[in-house]
Amino acid sequence: MGASVKYLANVTSLKFFSDTCTGCGRCVEVCPHAVFIIVSGKKAALSDKDRCMECGACARNCAFGAIAVNAGVGCASAIINGMVTGGEPSCGCSDAQNACC
């Protein structure tokens, strides 16, 4: 229960370029939401893009540059902070004030 909660549809910045994919399977290994699958042992494919939370694990670990995603924190207070200060949304984990993750 709960694993099936879904967030907004069609918003993720995840992009997959199957041309350069070698099917190494690293993206399947790292994605915490099973967004990638390997199709018939050849190449990766997106199984359900809307589950993507933009953590960036897949893109960072794809040695072949087949994935791009605008990774960041999906945290309202961090984003509001970013809007107010004009900087990148940053999670307040390092200051005791704001324990957003």
Binding site: S4, R51, N61, A63, G74, C101
Partner: protein, 368 residues
């Protein structure tokens, strides 16, 4: 019993290597294998106490373990190497999961932040891992080239770059440390289930204190403001009236906090719509309805009702939206989209609500 706990009674065998309760800088020179710290897989009551305290935000940052290489059990040259963060809770969870397993634990300097959060920030990252592998002379400690990193650390670590630079090949372990044994026994293979992050009612419940605390802080400010406004009389400030007449506001406000910070997170999958702001608003509406039905209002003016129906559900919505910071499935693009829509609503509502309060006052004073 050996332990790595701090701020309390310590046994002397390991305490020297594990100073904590202060921010600990990474040691300049690496540990050489002969002085690797040995840790026990058993949790002492201090560890349990520590876990409870770690959930409270103010303690979360000073609760660190010194970075470096640790031995769990009696590892040798062939034993596995697990990577962890120097947030004590991350380290403790791993150490407990390795009960009866002889292994090495390589603790990265993540400034006392948990794996997932540090990976997002990049402190649990490629460079730090490479540096730590070198500093601890891992290649002399073990004869193999395998490292097991937590899957939730993957956003910070480019496995192929670590392999290029150090020769060590990273496998990502399961998300839940409790699956480590099964993962190892299956030949370093995680089932699909082990790779997926869960978000159970229990997970959400332990996170709600993080939502309730800041929300309650806001509530205190709100209550003081209301108290002051209500007490204001043409003849001066009369606090006795403030308390009595303010009660509906205090009560409904408190319900909005509960609704946004506790009930919405708990019922998350069962509340319709995907937007957190909308979920929080719906639950807030319901609580406002319940609240208004169950209180007697001394001066049931229109201004009061309009204020209540407008303000409290949206307060709940705003608080619920903050929960996106604790979830494991809300991405930045989604939250930004919600905020683009919701922020103007919140801000204009705050302004209108204040206007209504003034109306409410004028009504009360018989000036309207």
């Amino acid at each position: 019993m050996k332990n790595v706990s701090c701020c309390g009674p310590q046994t002397k065998d390991t305490s020297d290597n594990l100073p904590c309760c202060t921010k600990q800088e990474a040691p300049e020179i690496g540990f050489i294998p002969s002085i690797v710290s040995r840790v026990s897989a058993e949790w002492t009551w201090m560890d349990y106490l520590g876990q409870i305290r770690c959930r409270v935000s103010s303690f979360r940052n000073s609760y660190t373990v010194k970075p470096g290489l640790y031995a769990a059990g009696n590892p040798d040259k062939n034993s596995d190497v697990f990577v962890s963060a120097n947030y004590k809770m991350s380290f403790d969870i791993l150490r407990r999961a390795l009960k009866d397993i002889n292994a090495w634990i390589l603790v990265l300097d993540t400034k006392g932040i948990n794996v997932w959060c540090a990976a997002g920030k990049g402190t649990f990252g490629t460079d730090e891992l490479i540096k730590r592998i070198d500093a601890s002379q891992l290649e002399k400690t073990v004869s193999h080239k395998r490292i097991i990193a937590p899957q939730l650390g993957a956003p910070g670590i480019a496995a192929h770059i670590v392999q290029q630079k150090t020769g060590f090949r990273i496998s990502y372990g399961p998300i839940d440390a409790r699956d480590i044994r099964r993962y190892v026994e299956a030949g370093y293979k995680a089932t699909e289930d082990m790779r997926r992050v869960k978000f159970t009612v229990w997970d959400r419940l332990v996170l709600t204190p993080m939502e309730l605390l800041p929300a309650l802080k806001g509530y205190v400010l709100y209550a003081l403001l209301i108290f002051f406004i209500i007490s204001l009389k043409p003849s001066g400030i009369i606090f006795k009236d403030g308390l009595a007449n303010g009660l509906p506001f205090f009560f409904l406000g408190f319900l909005a906090v509960l609704s946004g910070a506790l009930v919405t997170p708990l019922l998350l999958p069962f509340v319709p719509f995907r937007s957190f702001a909308v979920k929080g608003w719906i639950i807030g509406l319901f609580f406002t309805f319940l609240g208004i039905k169950n209180i007697t209002i001394a001066t049931p003016t229109t201004a009061f009702y309009v204020f209540s129906w407008l303000f409290f559900p949206l307060a709940s919505s705003y608080i619920a939206l903050q929960f996106t910071g604790s979830t494991v499935f809300t991405g930045m693009s989604g939250v930004k989209k919600e905020l683009r829509f919701a922020m103007p609503v919140y801000i204009s509502t705050a302004i209108i609500s204040f206007g209504l309060l003034v109306l409410f006052k004028l009504n009360q004073w018989g000036l309207l």
